[in-house]
Subunit: 396 residues, 4 copies
């Protein structure tokens, strides 16, 4: 850990200095007003990042997986039907979670590399005349394939079919890094985690809840206590928490949202897009392509790079870790071996990103890939230097 | 937060310097061997602290409440019967959790200030000829009243009645501070949290699981995903984790167990006893008494001090916070107002404890209590100076 | 270092959380504007603390001893005469430094426990018709004896004798904790260190320089390079530094002066006075007395407690460290063994101070002193609880 | 400071995580045994890094400049003659310091880009039949030009001429990064700073002193107090310090030397050489050259890159800071504008270095330099990937 490179995994992300220091907090009495002084701005800031004025925010000392579970158990009952497209590891896992909780999961199988299957979703909703579908679930940014889905498009499909289902979105690897508009998109539950765009250590599940979602908790019969929204709401009203909160992480979250707002969310998104686009230029220069099927699907937080036939993407990741002390992501599930993943979200500069690209090139050269050293770096450099104003503004 | 006193709440506790630094870790790739290097010693160390060789340890990015839920959902099925004594806020909350999860909770109401009702438990077990009781649940150290229960005694009652129920113990505010013997006491699930005797920030539920508890998970039908032992077991086998772990806290836990072992668990317990006994001497010098009904019930981690008639214990806590910037605990539930609580666990010295006692005295004098300033301090000083060798050894 | 008490030495002092974090800064390029952004507010804040508008502030990566040397070498020439009262270890050391640099030191021997000998100084100045005395040197707060001297009185003596000498003041253990009025008192050089009232680690010598002192550097011929004011002035003009600065400490200093100003200097001084007065009440309750000869000399940052005949004050310090892990100060020089010293400056609360007093009592009891446990604590408690508004305000 | 790149200035260097945490230490009583427990291993470790068994190590809360001053004032007297080659900014500054202290400095003017002028030194020594030259001074690694001098060669010249002068070496930017053999080379005083190869913040002057240098202090008459070796020696003998030490930095130094020894000094030097050689390959690929006149002079800690006619190297540094948030070093003195400097010492990986090279390339492209983006990166990548075993070993 001594001479340490930044990580290029798609989360947890590199933690900025000020956030690390905010998290590293001495013990406070969480039943005192000192807690409310950090909790309230954290919650208020998250609402801004989620793009919601109407919704509420609830924080659990947990992770994104816990956030998924909380979304389900607080709003649904055993046997309820949910509609989900499966097009990557994280949509798959959410499906599995629903099934374990006794939900009836209507799955739309979708090729990995595609995004949420809008047409099929619309068709399914249209076919559901009796409105048995209680919720449509979608991953916003599928971390396994580097694919961004069109959440607004799902809402439009729901509107066109006049379907009353709720819309639950896994925004774990997008929120805080890519535009997210909870109110405008009609998202009923947005699930985020601390360790991606919020640039914190793992340990907080962050949920945005629409009034409809909150209403649903009154009738939901799936059992829950740790993840019960009702206890949270009751405690929050008094500036409190139903059990011991992760005070340091919440303090860090307050700092993170302040950082994001100081930079300006539009600038944050532009910064992520710029870093990501440089990565994509590098990938193209290598003669390779993202796993995402088409440009409008490209994620600005992670790129799954499809490796040439005859190569195993996992080898790059292993070699990078062992030989160069650098962390990339392996391919998961259906694309295991077929891709390696470059995370480019959170606290990153263009210069850091170039070190990641340069290291990936060294690994590929080491493994006999037909690439020219420096080629991807040069493509990214060319793009970065022509677009550097955004970075400069962000770092100021 | 600038000129900060230690806290004297019964958790979260003061965090030692080295543990804070261990928790404040830069981002690592939790899928790399770097994670296993911190995870394995943390888990191994926890086993020692729990007093188990046969059991396994599972860590969730959660809190003690989550640990309770995990204990239940992984081993029981809706409608199962559990036997619990209610004698404080935390036994009450666990009961509530069980009820929300559809268990049939056989409650033995017990006066607050008493410990686990051994005779009534034994009678209930004896009466349960059909062995409908699947588990006996008990709080080891009831944080609301400062009462330690006799867990070995529960096991003996189970043995005498030859009852096959499992024994689940909430050791959140005892483990790491007071003797705990999971194997010897026949505990099937021990639940701890990071923020008490382990001296870490809140954010980890720590569970010790006996082979029987692990076997029970095969048939348990309560739904769970985030808290699923099966996923944990599967991942741990490969040095991994089923979702993003709280790596910094786990690193801190590895450090904490190393600290506890370096000091020697016997010395850790002796240190807690010594600090606690000084507090009790002070309480006696004030002409007051602990809420715990008798000396063998006295907790070495928290003392709930019964205030005289006509006074409200909560006022001491409020005044201490506002006037002296010091945190004590209020009375909860049935003893709200009747007690105030002094936490004395984790990272504390005798000198720190004296500052807590001296501040409590100032508050009581401010509020018109019939006490003499310095009286409790003197009683504690007298005890501490005659027993100081233990502290010196611990701090060395 | 695990279970750590605050220190009660008269410096270095306990470092507040926020200052520690400000000091712990990643590397910056000290030739970039980033350095000026921390340097300028630090310097501006120090001027406020010193009470100067006319003067300049210079910071060296050094200590108070280095500050003394810089004061001398930048303004004087070999053979120059300086007038100094010797009444403690730190005035003694400054005298020694002057002698080693070839100055002619006119020493007024003064009993330890007294402050600067105003009458003798005035007599010496009056006798110096030819104005051979180039500077009068005085320790403001003699850390060895806990004595505060009347610097304004020295200036008045200089005015009454119309003597043109400069006035150099060692304010290492007073500045930032006790009132200091550089301009109003006509101080030409004020020397401070980072590790006392500024609550930082040791490592910065902090000097305030009047226009006269700056003018003197033009003709001073004592050799100096590292400590040369001229290089500093030249570099500061461009926002730079003549060599590598201690950037983290300067960042911490910027934070420290911001803290002091946020609290309000008057409140800072009142807080120190209140903590100190509680200590003195305790000392009186023990039947002992401060080394300082009379109340107007009492220091608000350190109390040297005279121990009874037949006892050695150093034993208290040794025992406190070994048995209770607590640091007090030993007697130095002429009062070695005759006193022990309690530091009460910087980041301290009343509650912390009570832990120090309680520990001192335990040590004295252990050593057979004729004191009653709790007696000093009670006297301090009584005073603190009646005056607690100031602390509350400070900690808010 | 939020999204921060590593620095590529030739010091202060990037501080490893563990060293930052070691420096960030709570206040200890430096008169207690706790101080000796950190001080002794720090001093012992420095001796190993300096390559001395016979010598002693003295640490001042100061910087390299203070170290130079201490070297001179403790061993020489006004009017003494020293022999120095001037071939860069840091040899120039040391000369200036000597002159300010009244020494007779015999200067050998040497082109910048050359190293210590061995032949001229030998000639001067040979000509000094009366042995008026008391010390030969040399910069080991001239940070301004990126030139390493042959210190062993100077000693050989002294031996060949049988000249009894002492040999003082400025190793500020070499020690801990490049081989240094104090005993074998017959160095009498070696001067280092904390903020280069030791990877600490600035704030410590680190000196190695031969028995001859220590003997010289008995007769030296230059005035000194803060920097007096005698006070240091006296205090060290008892595990103490003559004034308040920079305890946190010393704790960090203990950690730094432990890190260097754990890695193995040979590996540390090989790591620096490898990183440096990659930089030089990049420079060559750009069609440019180091300022150092010939390969045997190449520094492994800093490369001063000569920019083409018509360009101003300072512009690269300014642009890198403003546009890319990255710090390089400007040319100083005679080579101002003619070079820009890339620091490559301390805590750096090959991947980090590539980000520095890539950023330099972007700046050069922005400024119209005739270079191809990615060209230098590719040359460095090629070298790094073929030599990566060393890095892997170091990071393990």
């Amino acid at each position: 850990m001594s001479y340490q490179n930044p990580v290029f995994i798609p989360g947890p992300t590199n933690i900025p200095e000020v956030i690390r220091k905010a998290c590293d907090m001495p013990t406070i009495d969480h039943r005192s007003p000192a807690f409310a002084r950090i909790f309230k701005p954290a919650v208020a800031g998250v609402k801004t990042v989620l793009g919601t004025r109407e919704g509420e925010v609830i924080l659990f000392p947990s992770t994104g997986t816990g956030g998924w579970e909380a979304a389900i158990t607080n709003t649904l009952s055993p046997g309820d039907t949910v509609l989900v497209g499966r097009f990557g590891m994280f949509s798959h896992r959410w499906i599995d979670l629903c099934q374990r909780h006794g939900l009836n999961v209507q799955i739309i199988e979708t090729p990995w590399g595609e995004g949420a299957p809008l047409a099929a979703i619309e068709a399914a909703l249209a076919a559901d005349a009796s409105h048995r579908i209680r919720a449509v679930l979608s991953t916003h940014n599928e971390t396994a394939t580097g694919v961004r889905s069109d959440i607004a498009g799902i809402r439009r499909a729901m509107e066109r079919t006049r379907h009353p289902a709720m819309l639950f979105v896994d925004g774990v690897s997008s929120i805080g890094s890519m535009p997210f508009e909870m109110d405008r998109w009609g998202v009923d539950i947005a699930v985020a985690g601390s360790q991606k765009g919020f640039m914190l250590p793992a340990g907080l599940a962050i949920l945005g809840l629409s009034p409809r979602a909150l209403a649903a908790m009154e009738t939901a019969t799936l059992p829950r206590t740790f993840f019960d929204f009702r206890d949270m709401q009751k405690s929050y009203a008094g500036g409190g928490y139903p059990y011991t909160p992760a005070a340091g992480l919440i303090n860090g979250l307050a700092t993170a949202v302040e950082m994001l707002q100081d930079e300006g969310l539009e600038n944050v998104y532009a910064r992520h897009h710029r870093i990501a686009e440089g990565v994509r230029r590098a990938v193209a220069a290598w003669g390779m392509r993202p796993c995402a099927a088409s440009p409008e699907l490209y994620s600005d937080t992670v790129t799954a790079v499809v490796v040439p036939e005859g190569f195993n993407g996992t080898d790059i990741v292993t070699l990078a870790a062992q030989k160069y002390g650098m962390a990339f992501g392996v391919g998961l599930g259906e694309v295991a071996g077929k891709v390696f993943r470059i995370g480019h979200l959170g606290s990153l500069t263009d210069a850091m990103m170039l070190s990641g690209l340069a290291t990936a090139e060294m690994c590929m050269a080491d493994l006999g890939y037909p690439i020219t050293l420096g080629s991807g770096v040069a493509a990214a450099q060319d793009y970065y230097r022509k677009t550097a104003g955004i970075a400069a503004k962000a770092a100021a």
